[in-house]
């Protein structure tokens, strides 16, 4: 069994920098983190200096993802030895208990953190994740709402709440959460696109027009968002096919839909360039667009 450094021919500094990049950009490639991190910890611990503690934390969370309880336990022991009274380490211990499905013990641990420090957001969020893991989504929603009442600026929490509402099919409230996210991150095309999708799902003429606008905004922010392009096509054709619209609105929407369709075929043509199946895939796209035409019911 060869080590990572032999397989990929990288030095330990490169491995450490890779871990830092994954950490800063919030990647969740847990298996890779476990492989690289385990080797760093076992072989090069002395050379890492004080970096090693944050690597322990990163590797421990990845190990919990991969069910490597042995590795998680050893990382936790090292961290406990170095930082005996730390809330951050206690939270990691709680996460390990969650991974073992010992939810009662985990809850007790988080409660003790909160008693000590009522403003600790990490512990409160872990408690909500426990509720979600147990499938108690209505309670999770209620707790998350209370949490957000106090910490209105926590964007991660707003996103989580929007996901919970979408699962419960409560699209109006999910739209509210996504609006919060759009407000704080006006240049993030993904939130615009998700908002457009929720509005499209809600249905009704006004929502469809809103959806079309937000899909267009997402495309404006990022020209390559294919989902938004398809969304634009669908919402525009839907509005055009609706019986209640005026002639001008219908004409406009037909124009939008036609433009979107042309962009889609252009994209597929570019994708198929140089490949032999090009003609077939382009034809397939045209047929797909035809079949997606909304007919008046």
């Amino acid at each position: 069994m060869s080590s990572i450094s032999e397989l990929y021919d990288v030095t330990w500094e490169e491995m450490r920098d890779k871990l830092r990049k994954w950490r800063e950009e919030n990647f969740r490639n847990s298996e890779q983190i476990v492989d690289v991190g385990e080797e760093l910890i076992n072989e090069h611990a002395s050379k890492l200096g004080d970096d090693i503690w944050i690597i322990y934390e990163q590797v421990m969370i990845a190990a919990l993802d991969c069910s490597r309880d042995d590795l998680a336990w050893s990382c936790l022991q090292e961290l406990k030895r170095q930082f005996p009274d730390s809330h951050r380490v206690k939270r990691l211990a709680g996460m390990r208990l969650e991974a073992l499905e010992r939810y009662e013990d985990a809850n007790k641990l988080y409660d003790s953190i909160l008693q000590d420090d009522p403003t600790n957001t990490a512990a409160r969020k872990r408690k909500i994740s426990i509720l979600r893991a147990q499938g108690k989504s209505s309670e999770a929603i209620r707790e998350l709402n209370e949490y957000l009442e106090q910490f209105v600026g926590d964007q991660e929490a707003w996103h989580e709440l929007s996901e919970l509402y979408i699962n419960e099919h409560d699209y109006a409230k999910a739209a509210f959460c996504l609006e919060e996210l759009m407000m704080t991150n006006p240049h993030n095309h993904l939130y615009c696109e998700q908002y457009g999708e929720v509005k499209y799902t809600q249905g009704g003429l006004e929502n469809l027009e809103l959806a079309r606008k937000y899909f267009a905004q997402a495309l404006k922010l990022n020209n390559r968002n294919m989902r938004a392009l398809f969304g634009l096509y669908m919402s525009a054709s839907h509005v055009a096919a609706s019986p209640k619209v005026s002639a001008k609105v219908k004409k406009d929407n037909v124009k939008y839909a036609a433009w979107a369709a042309s962009q889609i075929s252009r994209a597929y043509q570019m994708a198929g360039r140089g490949k032999k199946e090009n003609k077939c895939s382009v034809k397939a796209v045209e047929e797909m667009l035809e079949s997606m035409q909304i007919t008046m019911s």
């Binding site: 403003t119 407000m183 905004q217 495309l219 020209n223």
Partner: protein, 251 residues
């Protein structure tokens, strides 16, 4: 304009030692501050309030990206005459008198001790030890007004104001070595005096102002006058002026 040739032993025994001393004292100050530092207890109410104010500010700035209805809903939540957040919520404010409030008093004393005291001591010692001669020349010309300030101990009327004494070299070092401290001690270190002085001047701007009620009132006023101009009014037309740029999507 006098061209003076300074003894090179000035460079060896004055300029370099002053740099050295300033640097070492700065590093010591950093460690002493860390030893004397105690955790600031955060109040849940304060955190919550500051986040609410932030949200309201963001609503004012970025509200134009939201649909009109949503913006109106949020503005209503904040500013409604009866049930609006800024109208309804009044926080109990205990005025924090700096003289009697113990924690703030000790903080102030510690700050003074670690920063001002060494500066005075070392500045005075340098003035006493290295006085009576010119240390260095600043590269830009200065007016005569600067002479008494920068040429302590040198009573020469005809000397250019660009020639400065060792005390001014010391002060130059205090501010100049800031970036060196960042290199050695990492960001946000306690030896950074100019930042501390900046903090004292703009203090209330950073932390939660002691009177949340005033902050709420000013936020309410600001939100009242904001109008909703939807940024997405013509987005489709703007989008369709040209073909989409798919560069980079297909590799």
């Amino acid at each position: 304009m006098a061209h003076l040739l300074l003894d090179s032993s000035i460079r060896l025994w004055v300029v370099l030692p002053i740099v050295f001393i300033t640097f070492i004292v700065g590093v010591l100050r950093h460690y002493v501050t860390q030893l004397l530092h105690n955790e600031k207890k955060v109040d849940l109410q304060q955190v919550s309030d500051s986040q609410v104010l932030l949200r309201s500010r963001i609503l004012r700035e970025n509200g134009k990206y939201l649909p009109k209805q949503s913006f109106a809903m949020r503005k209503h939540y904040f500013n409604n005459p009866e049930t609006g957040f800024f109208k309804k919520v009044k926080r109990k404010v205990i005025p924090k008198n700096p003289m009697t409030d113990t924690s703030m008093l000790t903080d102030m004393m510690k700050g003074n001790l670690t920063n001002v005291l060494p500066m005075i001591l070392i500045g005075g010692w340098i003035n006493w030890a290295f006085s009576g001669f010119v240390t260095t020349k600043v590269p830009f010309p200065l007016t005569l007004r600067f002479k008494p300030m920068l040429q302590r101990g040198i009573e020469l009327l005809s000397l250019d104001a660009s020639w400065v004494s060792s005390a001014s070299w010391y002060f130059l070092n205090v501010f100049g070595l800031r970036s060196m401290y960042t290199l050695i001690l990492g960001q946000d270190n306690a030896a950074d005096q100019s930042r501390i002085m900046q903090d004292q001047m703009t203090g209330a701007a950073m932390a939660m102002p002691p009177d949340p009620n005033k902050a709420f009132k000013s936020e309410w006023e600001a939100l009242e006058i904001v109008e909703h101009r939807w940024a997405l009014e013509n987005v489709e037309e703007e989008l369709m002026c040209q073909d989409l740029n798919f560069r980079g999507l297909f590799s």
